[in-house]
Symmetry: C2
Subunit: 253 residues, 2 copies
């Protein structure tokens, strides 16, 4: 059974302020919990409900959790109330937030970084993290105004990639200075940009903007190269996560 | 004020069964409502709340609605209760569902069709419709098991593209026969496929599968060419809407 302070913590972790105060976040669902465990994140405790034991995979996960952290058992209905996503699949873990700085990003001579310029939808952010991981980005940088990496919906749509790619939050000044110092070609996704994709033999930062407003003025000032995706059809723009995916694909070819 | 039967209809339209029974659907939010009106969909009635009049754009939309259909006024709180998406922005319209058949799809010698093989997340479906529109697809075909085109979340994430691209629902038999008769090269998005993208000088159907299970066995039997996206990183797969976007981009280059 959950202690009072654990219940309070779980509720506090539903907000960004709570996650920052406690340096912890919640992971929900069998697959994403497995990925978090594989990445050896520091565990606080786990909450499970009977549903988890419906499958062999769930039983194995429970055994692993029982051997490695405190496991609290609740009913399926209680777990759903504690969870933020619709299908927690009988398991939630509370883990310590990994705080990554720009200096934690390991760069080789060829490197790809995704910079998030106020991306606001949790599903879009998670999907971009998943694509950044698929295309071997060295890191992701969130500028102010971007939704929290450790929002449970972001973690869920990142499908485990949150635990593979360094996720850094930094302000404008730090970010642009770091990219300049490390000789990145700074590219921005922009419908009015060029269709020429720069060759990927070097360090490239791809800046993607807000769902409605696009790139901010203060970001545009730092962008050397704007990239547009040719669209022969009628839609005026693509979803930001789709646009980011296409450009990451192009930049890594 | 809403009549009793209008309130009942709005609630009925929250479910797929209700939308099918009444051949109607709900559009929410200023931008998407504008797109629906521009496409001259048959209107049933509109529901507005004071928020709509906060902007000039909203006022203009209200004037247009008042001149063209019955407008019901409710409070902002009531409108939010009637709406399915989180930010209806003071406006909802009820419109007649356009029922498109395979014979409504206009084909030229070069044509692109997206086939949805049990795509289940409304956000993913809407995003794929938006990409299909951006890359000038001639139509979208939903096989059984795919989420309803006229689910408000689908319409919202399609960002107006639901009103540009013919959206057809058809069963397996009809779909594969129609594609064969019309000499489509049938390609399936599949992680284990080839990386060779066929040239786009002809008719191509891109089949995208379910978020978890991928392409169904019965679909695989009809696919001539499976396409994989090279992923140098760690993520095992991409989000289905991102994968579809990348392949549509590649197929229209």
């Amino acid at each position: 059974v959950l202690t009072n302070s654990e219940t309070k913590l779980l509720h506090a972790l539903k907000s960004r302020a709570g996650r920052e105060k406690h340096s912890a976040f919640v992971v929900e669902g069998v697959r994403v919990v497995e990925d978090a465990l594989a990445a050896h994140f520091d565990l606080n405790f786990a909450v499970v409900s009977p549903t988890l034991e419906d499958s062999l995979r769930g039983k194995e996960l429970l055994d692993y959790l029982a051997a490695n952290t405190a496991v609290r058992r609740v009913s399926d209905a209680e777990l759903r109330k504690l969870a933020e996503t619709e299908t927690p699949q009988g398991v939630i873990i509370v883990a310590k937030t990994p705080r990554k700085n720009l200096s934690d990003v390991r760069l080789s001579s060829r490197a790809l970084i995704v910079v998030l310029d106020a991306v606001q939808d949790p599903g879009n952010l998670g999907t971009i993290i998943r694509s950044a991981d698929a295309f071997a980005a060295a890191g992701v940088i969130a500028l102010p105004g971007t939704v929290d990496y450790w929002n449970p919906k972001v973690v869920r749509s990142a499908a485990g990639s949150s635990f593979h790619v360094p996720l850094v939050s930094a302000d404008d000044e730090q970010t642009w200075a770091w990219l300049r110092t490390n000789e990145f070609l700074i590219c921005g996704a922009d419908m009015n940009g060029s269709n020429d994709i720069p060759s990927a033999n070097g360090r490239i930062a791809l800046v993607v903007g807000n769902e409605g407003a696009g790139l901010r003025k203060q970001s545009r000032a730092h962008i050397a190269h704007t990239l547009a995706i040719p669209m022969p059809g009628r839609a005026e723009s693509l979803n930001v996560a789709v646009a980011a995916g296409i450009l990451l694909y192009e930049l890594t070819r």
